[in-house]
């Protein structure tokens, strides 16, 4: 009867949790944008920029290279191959623009430039409207009418006899110095054709970018019918994002597939019941859901990283049900066992929670979320283990008893011999960590990248071949209005020209390159002669040329119309390609606008900083995105470290209050206080620097260590008459340490730095915590020895 009731309860609880999970994840918005991870004080400027970089065109560009699988050198038909690829890519309608180096000459391509030709750059030279200037222009026009451009020119010559539309259009053509053969871009060795495709979707819209990559692969596969086997390579920020996500997912899945049977095997070895696996997972699931719900309730959303790192931090909650299960005996049913171990379980959980409490006050929403998640999760997991689990454990599960009492095993005799070694290693490690100081940390974010070096190298190679601007170095021009930004940009341009001439940069890109400020436009339009004078100049200019009188009447009207209509703003431009280019270079932020200056081929950032008189140039500033994000990571780490230290102090106070004996506190605190620095030192020595992931893993080690130490001390404190209870405590902690070690050792084998760093740290830390816990919690009856 009871058995069936217990199983029914378990089923009910599982269904309720599943329903809660579905509801929670349907209701709670999960965000993945970078700005959430910014500290509150910085979310304005850098957040805006990073967001812009993430969604901006620089990150929507995919660099594509195609070569024959045979490696033919040089490629015989780069033109047809490149064009066929362009057509295939265009047919997917996933791209806003596909460039392969061709310069198309057609009405549609010229139209937007024709429309705004007297207001867009390059500057209007008033001399071009003089009689002599017009004469030169008309002579040039007549000559061009005899060439291949004639059909296009005949269409616009009446309104644009100086062919200014072409000059305007030329400014907008892609700024790259890539090598061309048969009219298309090829790599320096002519082995590969190169294309630049700008996706229509935001750069980090991962699922869609994945679809885009599949489309690129399909397009290349189609070409093989006519060109033979091809080798396709592609890169770009979005490709890297998709690739890293895929790697992360496949790696996680692989580890999951391996770790489930591993844990099941260990649990089966101890308990000989598979139901234990289900029971052991309940507190963890409850903790995860509660943590997520609490974060959502407080912050209104949950960040993806909170879920990921949070799941690791509450990993210690797996130990709670194991303690309970290890104590089940025929004379010690679930409810009684739960009641009896609760003081120790409570002390361990409460100490860990208090340790994480300060994270809640972090100025980084990401860290604060992590704190809330962990606290809520651990509390819920401990509560589940105490009250819910005994309620659903079938009474008759009657777990088999171990054949031997673990308390009497030789393995666990006289562990205090290890104390001097532990103390010596701990002291050495602490000294090492202090000496290294800030050098302990890995500052290069690239080292955290899950992307293998080969892919990063390919990205650099493609970028170099296509001379695409790296999105790392920027100048920012701030202004209250677009007009102010454009005016300040106008003042900056001569300096940029000097920098280009001196070779500090190869080229630059900013909105004002295309459209001058309205003030400048007004100034230029005012310099054009009025219609009467212009008509007279034109009459003289065409007097000896074979153009009919009145042929250029549309020109006179167009100039007059431009003058009357006055200047335009970027927002007045409708042509999508032009508009997008300008929008990506002019960002709207809090309290004004920011103009971006992208720099290509920057030789040395210091040279740029020195050469740029920023004090004369109002609102202009240099920004190294990488430096800025690294600074951000440093702050994130420093703040986490600070609050974790405060948390450690609070945890110590709590232990003092609970145990009330310095010796007892030392027994619980020293194992953790030693295993954490020793693990940190070991990781720093083997891994080339600690990262934020090591730090999070160390927090988890601290949680695990406290849990082990509390139960090992409980075991040690038990009287001689409670030898079975002692054995169960020991068995439980062994089981906990073994499962943690097994799972995280498996994680350490991952090829992704993030996972392997967390895995190796926790694997080592859990073993050390266990050994030191044993070493410092010496059974009462041995103490006299």
């Amino acid at each position: 009867m009871n058995v069936i009731r217990a199983w029914r309860r378990l089923a009910t609880v599982l269904v309720l949790m599943a329903a809660f999970a579905v509801a929670a994840f349907a209701l709670v918005p999960i965000r993945a944008d970078v700005t959430v991870l910014m500290p509150d004080r910085q979310s304005g400027e850098l957040g805006l920029l990073l967001q812009a970089m993430q969604e901006g065109p620089a990150n929507r560009v995919i660099l594509i290279a195609l070569e024959l699988a045979s490696g033919e050198l040089p490629l015989k038909t780069p033109g047809p191959l490149s064009r066929a690829m362009k057509v295939e890519l265009r047919n997917t309608v996933l791209f806003e623009q596909i460039l392969n180096g061709e310069v198309p000459l057609d009405d549609a391509a010229l139209r937007p430039f024709f429309e705004h030709r007297y207001r867009l750059n390059p500057p209007l030279d008033p001399a071009g409207f003089s009689a002599a200037g017009l004469r030169t222009a008309l002579e040039n026009l007549f000559e061009r009418l005899q060439g291949f451009g004639a059909p296009l020119i005949e269409g616009i010559m009446g309104a644009d006899p100086t062919l200014r539309s072409f000059n305007v259009a030329a400014l907008w053509s892609p700024t790259t110095s890539a090598v061309k053969r048969q009219g298309v871009w090829v790599s320096g060795d002519s082995r590969r054709v190169l294309l630049l495709a700008t996706t229509a979707e935001a750069g980090f819209d991962s699922p869609r970018q994945h679809a885009t990559i599949l489309a690129i692969q399909a397009a290349a596969a189609k070409l093989e019918a006519s060109f033979g086997p091809l080798r396709l390579t592609y890169s770009g920020p979005s490709v890297i994002a998709v690739e890293s996500r895929q790697r992360g997912e496949s790696e996680s899945q692989r580890l999951m597939l391996l770790s489930v049977p591993l844990i099941a095997g260990i649990l089966f070895l101890f308990f000989r019941r598979l139901a234990v696996l289900l029971l052991a997972s309940l507190p963890l699931v409850a903790g995860f859901l509660t943590g997520a719900a609490l974060v959502a309730a407080i912050f209104g959303f949950v960040h993806v990283t909170t879920l990921g790192f949070g799941a690791i931090l509450i990993g210690v909650a797996v130990d709670y049900p194991l303690h309970l299960l290890a104590h089940l005996r025929a004379d010690n049913p679930a409810r009684r066992a739960a009641h009896r171990i609760w003081p120790a379980l409570f002390l361990g959980a409460a100490t860990t929670i208090v340790g994480f409490l300060p994270l809640v006050f972090s100025s980084f929403p990401g860290v604060a979320q992590l704190g809330v998640f962990t606290i809520g999760g651990l509390a819920a997991a401990a509560g589940t283990a105490r009250w819910l689990l005994p309620y659903v454990i079938p009474v008759a599960i009657a777990l088999p008893r171990p054949r031997a009492n673990w308390a009497t095993m030789g393995l666990f005799q006289r562990p205090q011999r290890l104390r001097p070694f532990a103390l010596a290693f701990g002291a050495l490690s602490l000294g090492f960590l202090m000496i290294r100081g800030p050098d302990l940390w890995q500052r290069d974010i690239a080292a955290l990248s899950p992307i293998p070096e080969s892919l990063q190298a390919m990205d650099r190679d493609l970028r170099r071949n296509l001379s695409v601007a790296s999105p790392r170095h920027l100048l920012i021009i701030a202004g209250d209005t677009v007009e102010e930004v454009l005016q300040r940009s106008g003042a900056l341009i001569p300096h940029l020209e000097t920098l280009t001439a001196n070779g500090v940069i190869e080229a630059y890109e900013l909105a004002a390159r295309y459209i001058p400020s309205m003030a400048e436009q007004r100034f230029r339009l005012a310099a054009i002669p009025d219609t009467g004078a212009l008509r007279a100049n034109l009459a003289w200019a065409q007097s000896s040329l074979p153009f009919t009188s009145g042929a250029f009447e549309p020109f006179l009207n167009a100039v007059e119309a431009a003058r009357l209509a006055g200047p335009i703003e970027p927002a007045d431009i409708d042509a999508p390609l032009l508009r997008l280019r300008l929008e990506s270079l002019l960002l709207r932020g809090e309290g004004g606008y920011r103009g971006l200056v992208l720099l290509r081929g920057l030789r040395n950032p210091d040279e740029l900083r020195e050469a740029l008189p920023t004090e004369e140039l109002a609102g202009v500033r240099y920004l190294d995105i990488k430096e800025a994000t690294q600074g951000l990571m440093d702050d994130y780490r420093a703040e986490t470290l600070l609050w974790a230290a405060v948390g450690g102090g609070l945890a110590l106070v709590l232990l003092l209050a609970a145990i009330r004996s310095p010796k007892g506190v030392a027994e619980v605190f020293l194992p953790v206080g030693l295993s954490v620095p020793i693990t940190a030192a070991a990781m720093s020595l083997t891994g080339g620097g600690l990262t934020i992931f090591h730090l999070l893993a160390l927090l988890m080690v601290a949680g695990l260590g406290i849990d082990y130490a509390v139960f090992l001390r409980r075991s040690a404190e038990a009287g001689a008459e409670e030898v079975r209870e002692r054995g169960d405590d020991l068995r439980a902690v062994c089981l906990c340490a073994l499962t943690s070690f097994a799972v995280f050792a498996l994680l350490a084998s991952a090829s992704i730095p993030l996972l392997s760093q967390i895995g190796s740290t926790v694997a080592l830390g859990s073993v050390l915590s266990f050994i030191f816990g044993l070493a410092f919690a010496v059974p009462r009856q041995d103490r006299s020895a």
Partner: protein
């Protein structure tokens, strides 16, 4: 053994004349009119062809003809090169439906997708069709009407696509057995071009 090129042409022309003679002698009613396919067959040449041209273009806003001179080179199966030698050296290569404009060094400076420039597409198709002697290519784009005989003929091509798609009204080609041909391209706007293919330099 390959026949010399000139001899092959003679042999083929003999066959064409024989066919016409046979048709006439059999007393077929329409045999007097020159068949389009027969004309094109007579124009068809194996191998590369190179002809000099002189183009005069008449447009409304310019009072004098706009003259340019150069050569057309046809390379089988489908490549047509137009080289302008006067007034400013420039050349363009037509392959498939793409016209690549080259500078003096032969590097591509720009390209025109002929699907976006239907007028140019029609003009180049007519020149390529005649140089290649490809009746199907011409029939796919134009309504054709032919007058005269192999000694002197005139072929009129009217675009099959409507006025909305092209400014070309018709292309009239006048040809002589001696090898000279004149293309007269009339546009709806009244502008026109006159392209004279001066002499066939490939047979020499």
């Amino acid at each position: 053994m390959r026949m010399p090129c000139g001899l092959r042409i003679v042999v083929r022309r003999v066959w064409v004349f024989a066919a016409i003679w046979l048709a006439l002698s059999l007393g077929a009613g329409s045999a007097a009119a020159l068949e389009f396919e027969v004309l094109l067959e007579s124009l068809a040449l194996d191998g590369r062809r190179e002809v000099a041209f002189e183009e005069s273009r008449f447009i409304a806003s310019v009072t004098t003809p706009i003259v340019s001179r150069g050569r057309f080179i046809f390379e089988p199966p489908d490549r047509l090169i137009k080289t302008i030698e006067y007034p400013r050296p420039e050349s363009a290569v037509l392959e498939d439906d793409r016209l690549a404009i080259l500078d003096e060094d032969g590097a591509e400076v720009a390209s025109i997708d002929l699907w976006l420039q239907p007028d140019l597409r029609l003009i180049f198709a007519s020149i390529r069709g005649v140089l290649k002697g490809d009746p199907e290519a011409l029939r796919s784009l134009f309504w054709v009407s032919l007058k005269g005989d192999l000694e002197a003929w005139s072929l009129e091509l009217s675009p099959k696509v409507g006025e909305a798609k092209t400014r070309i009204q018709r292309i009239a080609i006048v040809g002589h057995a001696a090898g000279t041909q004149t293309f007269e391209i009339l546009e709806i706007s009244g502008s026109r071009s006159h392209i004279r293919l001066l002499h066939d330099t490939s047979a020499q």
